[in-house]
Subunit: 226 residues, 2 copies
DNA sequence: TTAATGTAAACTGTTAACATTTCAGAATAT
DNA sequence: ATATTCTGAAATGTTAACAGTTTACATTAA
């Protein structure tokens, strides 16, 4: 990996997150700060910070003796992630006040327009997609709910990033689904919006699993030796 | 605060978490690594780590310039926390297989017995209480759901710890509610279990809000000056 | 007076070194 | 042979110093 001088911690984090998801670090493998620091030509500080974040993302586990072991990542984990995201976002839909919706409707449609724009250029704009879904949660005004959603955000960003070659094709349908969700919400049809959102995310999950399978390195359980 | 030689990072974290919740650091106030390090007689490393965790707990916010500002904590935040916990745990109840339940029923009742034991000694065992609720979530086998719940755990531990003088009185009722929840689950009455769990946590929330109000320092909005 | 510019202090990001704990294997005793 | 104790290596926890950026404020120009 090429590490530039600034924001070292973030670069290390993104590198490790991607490698674990892709299976280049295997379940049971130890992450040793000194070794990683040497490999990546950085000091232990940023590596330590990155590992702490990976722990919060459930990709590694810190033992009581301080050592860090990779938890691995497979299709089941993707499904768990999407299941939980469906739970959070569908709950969010029930908690949005009509005032709050009115205030943010324009922004929701702006995001939709920006996705259309990107799609016309043959691109997929992950950030805007996540901003759209994030706004649905933010509109609840529930700080904890928002925080929980945000704690999954980077993981989804990486997942979508890795699998974008699979998902870029059905961008048009994704955008249409976003429109339908907002329309249902505006009409006060919360149940309908929930149904649409669930289907939307389940489809995304399906494509994501496919995309990961394609890119993932072959599984092989490693018994924990450094 | 007295800082002992080992596990400095954790001590700093718990100190800061408690202080922010109690309102001894106010909304808008800056957390400066160098100052905190001097105040607590430790180096910046552990302080940095602690601040990163506080950020994940939504108690502070890191600006793009790197500076850390306290987000504050009030009754609304407690309600958000409990609302989200109800969401996670009630969803968990729907996802527990009967096999999984059979396997863990004994452990659930063990926790209940341990709470009874503590109660007979006039104590309240926070850890066991949290272990009980945590097991409900773990039984879903959904890694993400479990992780989300765990990310709230320390915050709840601190909250319950601060407010334990209020909640220790109704320990007996809390234990009885735990029993009823497990019984409903065992009978396959998931809806009933959800209803009981929701009421259980809403009551806990109420007592927690009371307890915090008693212990909290008077609010005063500080405009962000170091 | 207001805006622009320069500068020292304050603060974070990063690195490197020191301290302590944990681990693995050799040496010893039973 | 098996168990136990010792010892050095390896890894984490912590500290301290360095580098770069941002902030705050004084100075200058319009």
């Amino acid at each position: 990996m090429r590490i530039t001088k600034k924001n070292i911690f973030n670069q290390v984090l993104e590198y490790l997150r991607k490698e674990i998801i892709l299976g280049n670090y295997l379940k049971g493998e130890y992450l040793v700060e000194v070794n990683l620091a040497k490999e990546l030509n950085v000091s232990r500080g940023p590596v330590r910070e990155a590992i702490a974040k990976l722990e919060a993302e459930n990709l590694v586990e810190k033992h009581s003796n301080g050592r860090t072991v990779v938890k691995g990542f497979d299709v089941k984990d993707i499904q768990d992630l999407y299941d939980s995201r469906i739970l959070l976002e569908n709950h969010a839909l029930t908690q949005i006040s009509s005032d709050e919706l009115k205030e943010n409707e324009n922004l929701l449609f702006l995001y939709i327009d920006q996705m259309k724009e990107a799609h016309e250029k043959g691109k997929r704009d992950i950030e805007i997609d996540l901003a759209f879904h994030g706004l649905l949660v933010k509109m609840t005004k529930n700080n904890t709910l928002t925080q929980l959603w945000l704690s999954l955000r980077e993981l989804f960003r990486t997942l979508i990033d890795i699998t974008s070659e699979v998902t870029v094709s059905n961008q048009k349908e994704i955008i249409a689904q976003h429109v339908r969700i907002v329309d249902s919400l505006s009409d006060g049809e919360v149940k309908e919006a929930q149904h649409l959102l669930k289907a939307h995310l389940e489809e995304a999950c399906k494509y994501c699993c496919e995309g990961i399978m394609i890119n993932k390195r072959g599984e092989k359980h490693v018994t924990g030796k450094n």
